[in-house]
């Protein structure tokens, strides 16, 4: 492939990412602030007020225990919401055609939108981490694991958001998955409790929840403790990224919602 084509694609990719991230910054009141406020409320209520009575979870201070899960929750909801709403908005306003008629290959378009979602997820995750530090100390046991887990999680939910955006036929359908799928999975994904507290059948069922693996891999990076095998968790996340990427690519090429 010629250098010119590679450079053109790189410029195209950057343009999509900057446009998406510019949108995040432009409407910061909708994209950044809510997760910070929510996380602060969780820390005040579950950490300070109720957490004091709970004491510790698996030998860790409860406030410290829930902190990685709350950061991950912010990453998940923001990376997902960014791509699903932005792509659906572009489809609804028809300006998605700007990129679809351009010479950019579909994989660059997918990566561009995902890049915007990942950036928002990481930015909000970082902001929530800073809020966390007002409430508790957060040690770092395995930095690489923290970065790998948060990056892969942001990728997974950006790709899932893109798939939702492609399928959605109205704004209600953009909100269905976060409300009826993501929120329950997150709450049952070991953010607030260890699955060791659950009966055997519920613990077994919890392993089928991908968010449990993400949260625990991330928590292991900070606290050095996890309910799941962290390497298996990383493998599951990597595999999920690959599978979702190819689904998104296929939809971008063929979907009746975008072309035809």
């Amino acid at each position: 492939m010629s250098k010119g084509i590679t450079q053109a694609r790189w410029i195209g990719f950057k343009t999509i990412v900057f446009r998406e991230f510019g949108r995040v910054l432009r409407i910061w009141g909708q994209t950044i602030v809510p997760s910070i406020v929510t996380a602060a409320l969780y820390f005040v209520i579950f950490g300070s007020l109720i957490g004091g009575r709970i004491g510790s979870m698996d030998g860790t201070d409860y406030m410290q225990y829930i902190a990685p899960g709350l950061i991950m929750m912010a990453v998940i909801t923001n990376s997902y919401a960014n791509v699903s709403s932005s792509l659906y908005g572009a489809k609804f306003g028809r300006y998605l055609e700007e990129v679809l008629v351009s010479p950019l290959p579909n994989w660059v378009i997918v990566l561009g939108y995902v890049g915007g979602g990942v950036l928002r997820g990481l930015l909000v995750g970082l902001a929530v981490t800073l809020v966390t530090l007002f409430f508790t100390h957060l040690p770092v046991e395995h930095l690489f694991l923290i970065l790998a887990a948060v990056f892969l999680t942001a990728m997974i939910f950006s790709l899932a958001g893109l798939i939702n955006g492609v399928f959605a036929k109205n704004f209600d359908q953009v909100n269905w998955i976060p409300t009826f799928v993501l929120t329950p999975l997150t709450y049952f994904g070991g953010v607030f409790y260890s699955i060791n507290l659950l009966p055997e059948w519920a613990r077994t069922l919890s392993f089928a929840n991908p968010i449990l693996h993400m949260v625990n891999a991330f928590r292991y990076g900070f606290l050095g403790r996890s309910d799941v095998d962290v390497f298996a968790a990383l493998a599951i996340m990597t595999l999920s990224v690959v599978v979702l990427f190819f689904i998104a690519l296929h939809l971008m090429s063929r979907s009746a919602g975008l072309r035809d």
Partner: protein, 307 residues
């Protein structure tokens, strides 16, 4: 070289509707080409296939020799498209929109900014570059879509009803801009419902109806095919009966308006001489209908007639 070469193009939608029924079309490099047809004839489907927004069922398309099946990216890089419906992000500014569009075509930011000034100025939008698009008028949005399509300086510009809903003054200035663009070498394909627009701008024409090409010819050759032309005459004084003029068929529309059908083998001097002799004074004269409109209606009616 052909700017656009279409062979045996078929589009069948999933609901069974066949929008294009094996179209062949050639648009030469440097041409200003009109693609006309009634609503639902298949014009936008054809444009959608050229820009990869619509998938084809059969046939092939090449843009400046780049086949859409084998060399899609190169083909798309040659095309700039102004769609029929507004497709602008209403919450972005014109400058952001056009600079980003250049980015999608791999044009570095610094070059994109220079071109943004060039094309937004040319389309009288430079002073609006920092306004939100949703605050622009309909005509401004249409011009912004043209500026956006030109940012990568395409060799082929496809305009799908670019002047729809635009007032006459802006429409004329857009015509002038497009004429200059064509003179500088850009091939232009125009679809429009304003037939005088096509007649005024385009050198070649194809009329598409019910998914088939009903006629494809040079504009002047097509217009010559009309054997008669109708004129409306305004009279200085009212008349009560239709003046009898040998060789011309006159109809009285109202006491001060006459309509006359003139065959191509007759001239108007004779008509005026005879009217003057009868004491009928003509104040003004105009074409009853646009000539292209007349051909268009005949072709479309003919192809729609039951077999």
């Amino acid at each position: 070289m052909q700017a656009l070469e279409v062979r045996g193009l078929v589009k069948q939608y999933r609901n069974g509707v066949q929008a294009l029924k094996g179209i062949d079309l050639d648009v030469a490099e440097g041409d200003f080409f009109a693609l006309l047809g009634p609503n639902g004839a298949g014009k936008s489907t054809l444009i959608g296939i050229c820009t990869s927004l619509v998938s084809k069922s059969a046939g092939r398309i090449a843009v400046f020799g780049h086949d859409l099946d084998g060399d899609l990216e190169a083909a798309k890089a040659c095309i700039g498209v102004v769609p029929q419906e507004l497709n602008l992000n209403q919450f972005e500014t014109p400058e952001t929109i056009v600079v980003n569009q250049a980015g999608f075509y791999g044009i570095p930011r610094s070059v994109a900014r220079e071109r943004a000034e060039k094309y937004l100025t040319a389309l009288s939008l430079w002073d609006k570059r920092h306004k939100l698009t949703r605050t622009l008028s309909g005509g401004m949005k249409r011009r912004l879509m043209i500026a956006r399509a030109l940012m990568h300086e395409p060799r082929l510009l496809i305009l799908d009803e670019p002047t729809a809903g635009v007032d006459i003054e802006i429409r004329r200035s857009m015509w002038e801009f497009l004429r200059e663009l064509n003179e500088r070498g850009t091939t232009i394909i125009l679809t429009t419902h304003y037939l005088e627009e096509a007649e005024s701008l385009c050198r070649n024409i194809a009329i598409i109806d019910r998914g088939q090409i009903a006629e494809a010819d040079r504009m002047d050759s097509l217009l010559r095919k009309l054997h008669t032309e109708s004129f409306v005459l305004s009279l200085r004084a009212p008349v009560s009966v239709v003046p009898r003029v040998t060789g011309y068929e006159l109809t009285l529309i109202d006491p001060q308006t006459l309509e006359v059908e003139v065959s191509k083998d007759r001239n108007l001097n004779e008509l005026f001489t005879q009217l003057s002799a009868d004491g009928v004074q003509v104040l003004s004269m105009r074409n009853k209908v646009n000539r292209l409109e007349e051909i268009f209606m005949r072709l479309v009616d003919k192809s729609g007639a039951p077999a």
